[in-house]
């Protein structure tokens, strides 16, 4: 029966937060309007927002305003406070809303949160989760559409999770909250409404384990977040042409499950990375470099990257469609490496 239980990806995150807060009283959540209606006397004002996409709605009723905190618009202040709280006994989950806002609290995140443990010789732990929306696809333009996970992956001391299914979203969120290191938890805004099987009981998807979403023998396509479904669709198209595509979903970018990726490339001899982030110094280059070193002798074709262009995200639908890596681009690239 539990096989049939489905939730949206957003619902899966809500459930993980709910269950972890129930399990552990040191888990708190905070962010701008994650409850909503703060300071209003209007009946029904409370919980009138519920955070980005309403994901946290309902938690205040259960856990109260002490543990479910609306914050002022002060990203450096409240993310820094979440980090300070993490060092002193809480497990805060702080919502940055859009990942594009990272430039405001970045010092707190990367110079403080990510480094305290190392700088203090291992004598601190920083169990904080930072949630943020990523991705293009809703015409939200240059400051509300980026992915940016390449930057967080670059930073030692951070971990980065990018679920592509409701199942993984719940399991990775449980893992992130229980993890003793700072974790960036990135939610692709076009995936939040996607439904999928989610067991009711809490469970863990370990940080650092990729999943082969589709087995194949001819070419490996590593795809991240929203791009997993784009890659799977392209794989279906190619199957009709007799090409057997393997699709690997890293699920976490730091730690990266290099073994699963390398084993796949060793098997197929061909590698394409599909990444919605911009191309320079990105996950796409990271995974390409990995294979060009450690799977070099297995490679039968150039390693190709299908990414966004080196541009900000444009607003207009026609431009945004040209910006986001498409099934057609992925399919064409698969054909290209197959004929190499």
């Amino acid at each position: 029966m539990s096989e049939e239980r489905t939730l949206t990806l957003g619902g899966a995150i809500h459930e993980a937060l709910h269950q972890e807060m129930e399990r552990d009283s040191t888990v708190i959540i905070m962010g701008e309007d994650i409850v909503g209606g703060a300071g209003s006397d209007e009946p029904g004002a409370e919980d009138s927002w519920g955070g980005p996409m309403g994901i946290t709605r309902g938690l205040v009723g259960k856990f109260g305003r002490e543990r479910v905190r609306d914050t002022p618009i002060s990203e450096a202040g409240f993310i820094g406070a979440a980090i300070g709280a993490a060092v002193t006994g809480l497990r805060p989950v702080a919502a940055l809303m859009f990942v594009d806002f990272f430039g405001i609290p970045m010092d707190q995140i990367y110079n403080q949160g990510a480094k305290l443990r190392y700088m203090f010789g291992g004598k601190a732990k920083v169990p904080v989760v930072i949630r943020a929306l990523i991705g293009a696809g809703v015409n939200a333009a240059a400051q509300h559409s980026q992915t940016l996970y390449s930057i967080f992956t670059h930073i030692p001391g951070l971990k980065v999770a990018v679920p592509s299914t409701p199942y993984d979203a719940k399991g990775l969120m449980c893992a992130a909250i229980r993890d003793d290191d700072p974790v960036f938890f990135l939610e692709h805004k076009t995936l939040l409404g996607q439904k999928g099987h989610v067991p009711e009981e809490p469970y863990i998807v370990p940080l650092g384990q990729a999943l082969v979403r589709r087995e194949g023998s001819d070419v490996t396509v590593v795809a991240i977040a929203k791009m997993v479904e784009v890659a799977l669709a392209a794989a279906e198209e190619l199957a009709a042409e007799g090409v057997n595509v393997e699709v690997v979903d890293p699920r976490t970018l730091s730690p990266l499950d290099t073994r699963t990726i390398l084993e796949s490339v060793e098997k197929t001899g061909r590698l394409i990375i599909v990444d919605e982030d911009t191309p320079r110094c990105s996950l796409a280059t990271d995974i390409a470099a990995l294979a060009a070193d450690e799977a070099f002798y297995s490679l039968e074709a150039p390693i190709k990257r299908v990414t966004a262009p080196h541009t900000p995200v444009p607003f207009s639908p026609t431009l945004e469609a040209a910006y986001i890596p498409s099934k057609a681009q992925v399919a064409a690239t698969i054909r290209e490496v197959m004929s190499a």
């Binding site: 309007d33 300071g39 914050t71 002060s74 080196h310 607003f315």
Partner: protein
């Protein structure tokens, strides 16, 4: 501060243009013809217009996510604006920016901004530019009550204070940041009082009264032009629509909204005052209403009939020059 007749007419036309532009955008958005995130300025017209009435194209402003009003007040073309909301090639930003990023540098409109608080340092920079180049220009930074809790507010005000930059900081206090009341999010009494921290004047204006905003902004801008440094002007105002198009607004009552839409409406108050004082006639004002109505109709038609940008445009305008082309 007496306002010349011509100026009064222009002020009214700008206020009504904003209101009608926003009312129409509301409808166009609901009809699914405008994509993306849209935040409407309706209700706050007296602030943008009362302040920008003192500015020329040489003066710069920075705006917010709720920027349509500032742009119209600064004289940006409504056709180009509506086309931009529609994502068309004829838009103010060729369709690349959308509602949150409309700019017109030639008119000193340095852009709406999707990042709360980000315009404050940019305005300081425009003021610095005027100061170094020795022009008479000033800069104005508009931001919300929520924006006043950002670090950039503090840093910008302090910088402007110590450098005596010719800049006016306009806090548009509409009571809410998204669904959060200013009473919850901001420590202290009025935002204007935060000016004392930097030793600069802090002034509160009734942001629903064009004449009050006009007078107080005028004093502050004149001081800035005279080299006397910055002012923080807090305008108490109200937004008539939700935070963004789609907001269900459970955090405030319909009665509250109605009160502002009717009794406290800045445009009604302006009309009442100018007609009572015999400054303008109802006929003159009605004629403006009709003209603006046509202009907005035309803007919508212009937008709807404009082509979408060529997909190849996605990779242009990233740099002024770049040896390698962008993949």
């Amino acid at each position: 501060m007496d306002i010349p007749r011509d100026k009064l007419l222009e002020i009214y036309e700008r206020m009504v243009t904003i209101r009608q532009f926003e009312d129409r955008t509301h409808g166009e958005y609901a009809a699914g013809r405008i994509p993306g995130f849209v935040h409407l300025y309706a209700g706050e017209e007296a602030v943008a217009v009362g302040v920008c009435a003192h500015l020329s194209d040489d003066d710069a402003i920075t705006s917010t996510h709720r920027g349509h009003g500032h742009r119209i007040a600064k004289g940006v073309d409504v056709n180009a604006m509506m086309a931009e909301l529609y994502g068309r090639a004829t838009g103010a930003c060729k369709g690349k920016g959308g509602s949150m990023h409309i700019a017109d540098i030639s008119r000193g409109m340095l852009g709406a901004n999707g990042i709360v608080g980000a315009g404050v340092p940019l305005a300081c920079g425009a003021a610095l530019s005027a100061q170094v180049r020795g022009t008479e220009a000033v800069a104005v930074s508009f931001f919300g009550d929520g924006g006043a809790n950002q670090g950039t507010f503090h840093e910008g005000l302090n910088l402007a204070a110590i450098w005596k930059l010719p800049v006016l900081f306009v806090a548009e206090n509409n009571g809410y940041a998204q669904s959060t009341s200013v009473s919850y999010a901001a420590g202290g009494a009025d935002i204007a009082r935060r000016a004392q921290a930097y030793g600069i004047p802090g002034v509160v204006a009734d942001g629903l009264d064009l004449f009050d905003v006009y007078a107080k902004a005028g004093t502050a801008i004149a001081a800035a032009r005279a080299g006397d440094g910055p002012t923080l002007l807090e305008c108490k105002t109200y937004r008539l629509y939700g935070h963004y198009e789609g907001d269900t607004q459970g955090y405030r009552s319909k009665a509250e909204i109605d009160r502002y839409r009717h009794e406290h409406c800045a445009i009604r108050r302006f009309r009442a005052r100018v007609t009572q004082d015999g400054l303008l006639t109802a006929d003159e004002l009605d004629a403006i209403d009709a003209r603006v109505d046509n202009a907005i109709d035309a803007a919508v038609a212009f937008a709807a009939n404009s082509p979408f940008p060529d997909p190849a445009e996605v990779t242009t305008d990233v740099y002024v020059n770049y040896e390698e082309e962008i993949a």
